[in-house]
């Protein structure tokens, strides 16, 4: 059934700061009014909590990375659609060693990271790239809020994390970036996930959000003031924010995002992600193999077609690209 009030949540991350600006500047409200609905934009400081809340049904849409979209809402039975693909990490996530120049040197070390997150995935991919596996290192779960201060202690010799923590850590002496997401371009994707059922029943909601997003993108790309605003809101300044942007491949234009989603590489990426998740037991007890949860992409479905819970759907971005919103 159609409804009028929608709630979107987002958490502080360079690729999602536009939602803060959209909320403060009134752009989201403008587009919501255009489609005659109300959209409430809510900020979270705790990324995990925002996804949990979405999965529990408190929100209709939420910002998250592709791997989390698979392991949290999709594995939790919430059929979800990646409606807007905003960017992919192009160096924003990194593995950093205090001693050692290459990821091979990580052998035998403890690596502090947020377990089961994109950092964990990145580390797994990094180790794989030199023929090692997670068995060769010891993973220590560390909360993201405390990673920077943790890194200043002697106990911590290696971390895997994301920005802005990466740039903070790299600014400290004796920090070597040995692997980052630019080595696996396009695999860590930041999206706006929308509840599929809500989206089907309320295409207006999708249209309003997509319309708002690309108007924000436009302003963000053009205006330094807008970027400075976003930097400030994320606790840093313009320079800090732009250095984070440098390692993020933003899709300012809807056309680019559509192209990315339509490419067959996405399906392969999601296959990697699904296998990683399955190996770490993230797909639930019922999962017999990595394909237990079906993932639909324009290039085809990976996994069980009868249990599709995560969909990459470019249709709204296409409308934006064609100026139909």
């Amino acid at each position: 059934q159609a409804k009028e009030d929608f709630k979107v949540c987002w958490s502080i991350y360079v690729g999602w700061m536009p939602w803060e600006y959209g909320d403060k500047s009134g752009i989201v409200k403008k587009w919501a009014d255009k489609y005659d609905i109300n959209i409430d934009v809510v900020q979270f400081n705790d990324y995990v909590e925002s996804m949990n809340q979405y999965t529990a049904g408190e929100f209709d849409a939420c910002t998250m990375a592709n791997i989390d979209a698979l392991t949290i809402p999709a594995a939790g039975g919430i059929d979800s659609t990646a409606m807007i693909v905003g960017d992919f990490s192009n160096g924003n996530d990194a593995v950093i060693l205090k001693d050692g120049k290459s990821i091979k040197d990580a052998k035998g070390q403890s690596i502090n990271l947020v377990e089961l997150s994109v950092s964990h995935y990145l580390l797994a991919r990094g180790l794989e790239s030199v023929g090692m596996s997670e068995r060769d290192v010891k993973v220590v779960n560390t909360s993201d809020a405390d990673l920077v201060s943790a890194y200043t202690t002697k106990d911590v010799t290696a971390v895997a994390t994301w920005n802005p923590l990466v740039s903070e850590i790299l600014s400290m002496p004796k920090s070597n970036k040995v692997f980052d997401s630019s080595n696996i371009p396009g695999e860590i994707i930041d999206t706006l996930i929308v509840n599929t059922k809500v989206l089907e029943e309320n295409p207006k909601f999708g249209k309003a959000l997509t319309g708002a997003w690309y108007e924000i993108m436009d302003e963000m790309q053009k205006s330094k003031k807008v970027r400075a605003h976003m930097g400030k809101a994320s606790g840093t300044d313009l320079a800090g924010f732009e250095s984070q942007l440098d390692s993020t491949k933003m899709f300012y234009k809807a056309k680019d995002a559509v192209e990315f989603v339509n490419s067959p590489a996405l399906k392969n990426t999601m296959e990697y992600v699904a296998k990683f998740s399955f190996n770490h037991g993230l797909l639930g007890d019922g999962a017999a193999d990595a394909g237990f949860i079906g993932i639909e992409t324009p290039a085809g479905v990976f996994g069980d077609k009868g249990n599709i819970q995560l969909r990459f759907d470019p249709s709204f971005m296409e409308m934006a690209a064609q100026g139909k919103l």
Binding site: C9, I12, K24, V42, Q43, F44, N45, D46, E49, N52, Q53, A56, E58, D144, A145, D146, V148, S149, T152, P164, L165, E168, S171, M172, P173, H229, K232, A233, S234, G235, T236, G240
Partner: protein
Amino acid sequence: MKRWINKKPSRPLAIVLGILPFILLMALYQWGSEVRKVENPNDKLLPSVSQFYAAIDRLAFTPSKRTGEYLFWQDTFSSLKRLLMGVACAAAIGLILGLITGAIPLIGANLNPVITALSLIPPMAVLPLLFIVFGLGELSKVMLIIVGITPFLIRDLYQRTKDIPQEQLVKAQTLGANSFQLINRVLLPQILPRLLDALRLSLGTAWLFLIAAEAIAATEGLGYRIFLVRRYLAMDVILPYVIWITFLAFVLDWLLVKTSKKVFPWYHAAK
């Protein structure tokens, strides 16, 4: 020569002695800060005094470019509002339930076991559930404080109600009081000063939960700011905020003591 236990410092000596450790701590900090600055001039962990000054000036005395507001005062205001609302609600619930379970044995037998069990649950562990149940607005932060301190308040006030001499209850009954009059005129007024005592004890926990709640979902507040800038290890902001929180905690405690002495002279004289 007097025994050590009999030597009492004079007033000025006591003040000097009391201030000494603070000076030592500050000197220790200063030293640590300088050592680290020599190693790495960009060290953020132990900022110098001038960096504190700059941070305070920026947050408290310069309007924010984004919104024209003074972030520091806005944070303080939001946090205090949440804290006071949470503590006030918890006090009201704790008072009513503590009083009723303490006064009416049937209700006490009914509710005490479940309250004891609830009070043992670490609220941090059930945060996700709390957010689901109470949503995410202002309410959720206030609720977390309430959930965090109410069980303690109920149990404490239950015990305090039980501690009121049985003789007084009997006396009131021989003066013709019914249950409700007795609770209203004999127990309630005597529990109120004890409520203030209990609140003093639970303020520390209330701050803890406020900060935890603001760390998860908020857009302003003292705890929010600390968690926001923690990613950048901005100790020049964090430490002044911590000192400010400590000071606020001290003032609140002091206010409770003063209020209690002023409003309930009989309670303090009798002790």
